[in-house]
Structures are given as C-alpha cells and as structure tokens.
Amino acid sequence: MKLIIAIVKPFKLDAVREALTAAGVDGMTASEAKGFGRQKGQTEIYRGAEYEVNFLPKVRLEIVLDDDKVEAACEAIRSAANSEKIGDGKIFVLSVEEAIRIRTGETGAAAI
C-alpha cells in the first residue's frame, strides 16, 4: 500500500476528488494547509506596514491505496489539479505498512 500526499490549490479540490473517484479511489482525507514554494506570496500593506504573505492557501489530500492504483491516482490528481500556473502543487508517494478499518478491524487492502 502507498500513501499519496497531494498538495493542491483549494478551488481544485472538487475536481480532484471527482477524478480520483473516477480512477477507482474510494476514500481520502483532506485538510487545510498553507504552502511555501516557487509561487511567491504578495506583499500586503496593513495600516502602512508592509508584510509578506509567505504562505498561500492549499488543500492537502491524503489517500491510502493499493500499489497498483498509485499510477492512475497520481495521473488523475495531476490532470485535475493542473492549471498550468505556478503553485499548482505536488504529489508525494510514501510506503504504508498497514491499514486498519476502525469499524470492522479489517486490515490491509480490505481496509481502504
């Protein structure tokens, strides 16, 4: 099993979720995040004082899935989240050793 961590722009969340569902992914967990990268934040002015907004709003998705679905899922995320603008985000893949469904106690592939 793998864990995909995808950082995407917030307004792309629905598109990514739909693409993933289409790619056969049934579950995922999202959270709010702020990202720092090549896409630079603006310099804002508040009451005459400049300040750098270094971190930009992103959504962070976690998807645990079978090894054989990883490629399709990454492709789904990539095509749905891509706006060809800087800051579109990243996909990271990590290895997962075990998964458990709390309700049933099922483990492994059955749990996800």
């Binding site: 002015i45 009451r47 005459g48 004082a49 400049e50």
Partner: protein, 437 residues
C-alpha cells in the same frame, strides 16, 4: 453648568438670532420634558458606543486577545459609571466657579424646583438632573474606551482597570471642570462643543502616555525599526464597531446641544446631525483615496479609522459649519489618520486600533478647526485649551501608569503575550473550538 455651551444657544447654523418672544410658545414643562428626553435618548445612543469600541477592538486585535478586550470593555463601562457617580460628576460640575476643580462628593439628583406646587421651569432650559448625569456619564466612558484599544494585547487586566478608575474618577472630571464645569478655560472662551479635546484628546493623551510607558507589543517592530503588520482577527466586527460608533455619534454631538425645548434647538440639532454625518463621510472618502494613492490599495481599517477621524474632527464644533465645510473638516481628519498612523510607527508607538490618530490627532485638529466657523472662538484660546488639557492628562496619566507599573506591574510577560492574554489572563479563548464540527 455648561456655561460655555450655553453661549452657543443663540447660534444657529452660522446665523445668530435674538431670543424671540415666540420661544415662550413651548411651555416650560414641555420644554423640560423635551430637554430631558434629549439627554436620555442621545445618552442611550452614546452608551451604545461602548459596544462599538468593544467590537472595533475585538476585530482589530488578534484572536488570542479578543476575549480579554471584551472583558476590558464591559468592565470599563461598569467602572466608569460607578465612579462617575461616586466622585466624578461633582468633581466636574459642582462648585467649580471659574476655577480648576469641583468638589469631592457623591452626586445626587435635586429636582425639587420642578416638583411641588409651584414648579419653576426657568426659560425652557431646565431638565431632570438625572438625565444630565446620565448623558455626562456616557461621555466619560467613551474616554476610557479609547485607552483600551491602543494598549490592547499587552496590558494586564486589573492594572488597566485601575487606570480606568483613575481616569474616570479624577483625571477626566478635573479637566472637564475647566470648560464644561464652568472653570477657567470656559472663562477664557475655550470652545469645544461636544469634546474633541475634552473627551477624545483626553482619551488619546492617556492612551499615548500608556503606549509610551508600556512599550510596543513584542515583535511589532523589527530590530531595524521596521513595523511588522499584525492584522486584526475580524474585519466584519471592526466594521460593525465603526457603524455603531457612527450611530452613537449622533447622540454624542446632537445631545451636546443640551436642549431641545425650542425650535432653535431643534434646528440646531438637525444641523449637528447633518454635519456629524458629512464629516464622517468626508473622513471615509479621504482616507480611502489617500490609502489608494499612497499604498495602491484601499485599506479597510484606515477607511474605518477615517470615519472615526472625521467624527472626532467635527465634534468640537458640529453646529456652526455648513455641510460643505463639515465634509472638508472630516476629510482633513481622514487624511490625518492615514499619515499619522505612519508617523506613530516611525516612533515605534504601538497603537493597536489606531486610537491615537483618530482621537488625539483628529481631536486636536477638530479643536483648532472651530475657528473656521465659530466667530467667537480664538485660535490662541483653542491652543491654550489643547495644551493645558494635554499637559494635565499627560502628567496625571504618567503618574498613574508609573505608580501602577511600580506597584503591581502593568505589562504581561513576553510568554503571556505570545500565548495571548486570553489564555494567560482569562483562561478562556474567544474562539475556543478545536474543530468547528
């Protein structure tokens, strides 16, 4: 009382009239009721400003200090009311006699002249003693509210309330006695219709003194002295607070006509409403344009401060100007806001909500601007009034702050500040939920 103000009675929107026999048309008791009603309703509007300050400040501090600013605002209004009853009012209005101070005694109403078999309602200029007390009380609370905003996010709760007690029981009433209590400044002809100096600058000076003694929030200025923005937690609450203040100001200035029992007074109050509104409008527009030009973006908080700056600017003379002049006076106030925010930062004076630009700087400007429309006012006297009140408040406030600092300490530790006063002082968070669901 109010001798200086009473002088204004004959002056209607820039046009002086003779006391006419027609004034007798409103019977004495009817006028008495009108005057009393004016104080009560306009006083209630001013009381509502306490909520305005609470919301403005809640919106302009960071979340971790919001509950504390709420408790300060509720408590200061309570304390101001009690102390102005116990000592403040008589210190301001009783037996001042062209002097420097009234009496140390508890206020109690005396309406005996208006009751009984043969009541005497004077020339239509009488009112229930209690209604006047109420109207005066909400003013002192306003002065105290100003201080809380500037010093937010770093001052400890109880010492702050200690200063509020000093300000509302002693400092405000004594300087107030000089003009509105019929003291030496009123004798000189110092003109401050509704309190640009006597209320707003007083709060502003006390805030400035406190800001200097307390120091800036940690992290507010870099080592190199560059200001670091600390955006407030909620712009809609700040906006709500400003609208509340704007509404309350009709009471603040309108009620300061002090009488409604004649057509002249009714006409005067109408003019005051108009000028109050137009000055606020001028302040908003000027601050928006200035912030667009200087910073290339409209800064909402400066627009809000601009409204308040306009309102403070017209407060010293909301009656005599034409509407057009009121717009200009307010607009200058709005510009002063935008620029003095920057100047304060240059001196590393950390004013969380912009109370010093709005109440002190515009308070001074408004007091000077009286001479633009009120022919009886003199620039020199206005300057004397500004300076003497300023000096008195700076000195007495400094003593108050320094004694509090020495005895109990006034500043939260850096760690408490980082954690936020809500957690360190109240043990309650303004928005405490881990997850909103």
């Amino acid at each position: 009382m109010f001798m200086n103000k009473l002088k204004n009675f004959g002056l209607i929107a820039g046009l002086t009239v003779m006391a006419s026999p027609a004034m007798a048309e409103v019977p004495g008791e009817t006028a008495f009721i009108f005057n009393t009603l004016l104080f009560l309703i306009m006083g209630a509007f001013v009381m509502w400003m306490a909520a305005g300050f609470a919301m403005l400040e809640s919106g302009m501090v960071r979340s971790k200090n919001v509950a504390t600013i709420c408790v300060k605002n509720v408590a200061l209004f309570a304390i101001a009311g009690i102390l102005y009853y116990v000592v403040g009012y008589n210190l301001m209005y009783s037996g001042v006699d062209a002097g420097f101070i009234g009496e140390f005694s508890m206020w109690s109403p005396d309406d005996s002249a208006y009751l009984g078999e043969t009541p005497d309602f004077g020339e239509g200029d009488t009112y229930a003693a209690g209604s006047d007390w109420f109207f005066q009380m909400v003013f002192v609370a306003t002065a105290a509210s100003i201080v809380s905003g500037t010093l937010a996010e770093r001052i400890k709760l109880w010492p702050f309330l200690g200063f509020v007690a000093l300000l509302t029981a002693i400092i405000y009433p004594i300087q107030g006695s000089w003009t509105w209590g019929g003291g030496w400044l009123s004798e000189m002809g110092f003109a401050d219709f509704a309190g640009s100096t006597i209320v707003h600058s007083v709060g502003g000076w006390a805030a400035l003194t406190g800001a200097l003694i307390l120091g800036a929030r940690s992290g507010r200025y870099t080592a190199a002295g560059t200001p670091v923005a600390m955006p407030g937690s909620s712009m809609p609450l700040a906006t709500l607070g400003t609208f509340i203040l704007w509404l309350g100001w009709f009471g603040f200035n309108g009620g300061s006509q002090l009488a409604l029992g004649s057509a002249e007074n009714a006409i005067a109050i109408s003019q005051i409403f108009i000028n109050t509104n137009l000055a606020a409008a001028g302040g908003v527009v000027a601050a928006m344009i200035a912030s667009q030009m200087v910073y290339k973006k409209v800064d909402l908080t400066l627009a809000l401060n601009g409204a308040i700056g306009g309102l403070v600017s017209i407060t010293a003379e909301p009656l005599a100007p034409t509407g057009g002049l009121a717009i200009l006076i307010g607009a200058v106030g709005g510009l002063l806001i935008v620029f003095s925010v920057t100047v304060l930062d240059r001196f590393k004076i950390d004013d969380v909500v912009g109370a010093i630009p709005a109440h002190l700087v515009c308070g001074i400007w408004g007091t000077l601007a009286v001479v633009l429309s009120n022919g009886e006012a003199s620039l020199v006297t206005q300057l004397i009034g500004i300076a003497s009140v300023g000096a008195f408040v700076v000195v007495t406030s400094s003593i108050g702050w320094l004694v509090l600092k020495a005895v109990v300490g006034i500043r939260a530790s850096e760690e408490e500040e980082l954690l936020g006063l809500d957690k360190s002082e109240l043990g309650i968070e303004a928005y405490p939920e881990f997850s909103r669901s």
